[in-house]
Amino acid sequence: MTQPSFLDLIGSGPDGWGPALAAGAMMTILIALAGYAIGMVFGALGAWAKIAGGPVARGVAGTYTTVLRGIPDLLVIYLFYFGGSTVISAFGHLFGASGFISFPGFLAGALAVGVTSGAQQTEVFRGAYKAVHAGELEAAIACGMPPFLRFRRIIAPLTLRYALPGMGNVWQIVLKESALVSITGVVELLRQSQIGAGSTGRPFDFYFIAAMIYLAISTLSGALLQFSEKQFTRGVRRG
C-alpha cells in the first residue's frame, strides 16, 4: 500500500481530506462568531453594570470579571458541557424522560467561549467608555438630548471606536479558544484533524495543516480588523 502524499491528503481527491477540513474550518469560524457575539452581550452588560450600576450590580460585574479571567477556559467548557447535561437531564426527568440527555456541544462551547470572552470584553468596553471626552457628553446634554438618544448618537459610536483595537484582540483570543470546543465532540477544525490523524496515521500532517488554517484565519481577520479600524477612525487626527 502506497502512502498518499501530503498534497493528496489535503486535496479533494479520493484520499483527500480537503472538503472535510474546509467544513471544519467553517465550523470553527461559526463557533468563534457565536461565542464572540455572546461575549459582546455579556461585555456590554458587564461594562454597563460597572459604569452606571449600583453597588450590587458593580459587585456582581466585578466578581464576574475576576472569576472568569482567573480560571482556565477549559474548566468553563467542562462546566457548561457536563453541567448543562446535568441540568437538562434533571429537567427531562421532571417531564418524564429517562436516562441521560446530553447538552449540545456547539451550544455549550459557544456559551463557554462567550462567557469567558465577555469578561475580557467588559474591560475593553469600560476602558473605551472612559476614553470618551466628558465635554462631548456635556455638549449632548446641552443640546437637550434625552439619555437614550445620547447613548445612540454619542456614547455608542465613540465607545465602539475606542474599543476597536481591544475588540480585535478579544476576537483573536476567541478564535484560538474555539479549538478547546473540540473536546465536546463538535467537529470543528481541530476535531476534524484528530479524526483525520486517527484514520490515516499521519498526525503531524493533519495538525500542521490545522495550524496553518488557524494562522490563515487569524491573519485574514486581523487584516480585516485593521482595515475597519482605519475606516472608523478617519475623522481622528493622529500624532
Partner: protein, 240 residues
C-alpha cells in the same frame, strides 16, 4: 449544597496542585530564557535573526496552544527518525511534551513583552554606562536588564497568569493536574457544578497569590516612584 462532597473534592484536587505549579513554573522559567533570546534577535539589527524571531512569534501567537500541544505530542511520533532519536524518551512523555509546548508558546508572547521592556530603557542611561567605561555586556547586565525587568513586570505577570491557566490544556494529553483530576471527578460523579466551584477556587487562589507576589516585587523594585517617608513634625519640647 453538599459540603461533604465539596470537601472531598477539595482534598482530591489539592493533591494535583503540585503538578499544575510544576508545569507552570518549569515552562515559564524555560520560556523566559527562550523569550530573552528571541527579543535579542528582534533587536539585534541582523536581518536573518530578526526575521526568524518575527516568524516564530507570528506562528506561535497565531495558532491555538492545543494545536501546538497535539503537534508535538502526537505529531512528532509520525516520523521514524524522531522515534529512533535520542530525544524520544522525552518526546514520548506527555509531561515533557506539555512543558515543551507551553514553553515554546509562552516564549512567543514574552518575547514581545521583554522587547518592549528593553526598548523602554532611556538611551541616556546606556550612554552614562558607556561613559563610565562599562563594556557592552556589563551595560546590559547592570543597566539595561534590571530596568527592562522592572518595566515589563506588570505585563509579565499577566503572561504568568495566563500560563497557569494554560497548564489546564495538559490534561487533554492525559496529565493529571488540577483540571485533569476535575474532569475525571466530573465524569465519575456527574456533579460538574460542585467540582467546577472547587477547581475554580483553587485556580483563583493560585492566581491571586501570584498577582500579590508580583505587585510586591514591583513595589520593592521601584522605590524611586514612592513618596519619601515623611517625617512627623515634632514640637521642640516633645523630642525624646
Amino acid at each position: 449544597m453538599d459540603f461533604l462532597f465539596l470537601y472531598e473534592t477539595f482534598v482530591t484536587l489539592i493533591s494535583a496542585i503540585p503538578t499544575t505549579l510544576q508545569l507552570a513554573a518549569t515552562s515559564v522559567a524555560l520560556g523566559t530564557v527562550l523569550a530573552l533570546g528571541l527579543a535579542l534577535c528582534r533587536l539585534s539589527g541582523i536581518a536573518p535573526l530578526d526575521w526568524f524571531a518575527r516568524a516564530y512569534i507570528f506562528i506561535f501567537r497565531g495558532t491555538p496552544l492545543l494545536v501546538q500541544i497535539f503537534l508535538i505530542y502526537y505529531g512528532l511520533s509520525q516520523f521514524r527518525g524522531v522515534r529512533r532519536s535520542m530525544f524520544w524518551f522525552i518526546l514520548r512523555d506527555p509531561y515533557w511534551c506539555a512543558i515543551i509546548a507551553l514553553m515554546l508558546c509562552t516564549a512567543a508572547y514574552s518575547a514581545e513583552i521583554i522587547r518592549g521592556g528593553l526598548l523602554s530603557v532611556p538611551h541616556g542611561q546606556v550612554e552614562a554606562g558607556r561613559a563610565c567605561g562599562m563594556s557592552r555586556f556589563l551595560v546590559f547586565r547592570r543597566i539595561v536588564m534590571p530596568l527592562a525587568i522592572r518595566q515589563s513586570l506588570p505585563a509579565y505577570s499577566n503572561e504568568i497568569i495566563s500560563m497557569v491557566k494554560a497548564t489546564s490544556l495538559a490534561s487533554i494529553i492525559t496529565i493529571m493536574e488540577v483540571t485533569g483530576v476535575a474532569a475525571k471527578l466530573i465524569s465519575e460523579t456527574y456533579r460538574a457544578i460542585e467540582v467546577f466551584i472547587v477547581a475554580g477556587a483553587i485556580y483563583l487562589a493560585i492566581n491571586f497569590l501570584l498577582t500579590r507576589i508580583v505587585v510586591l516585587t514591583e513595589y520593592r523594585l521601584s522605590p524611586h516612584l514612592r513618596q519619601a517617608p515623611s517625617l512627623q513634625p515634632v514640637a521642640a519640647g516633645e523630642m525624646k
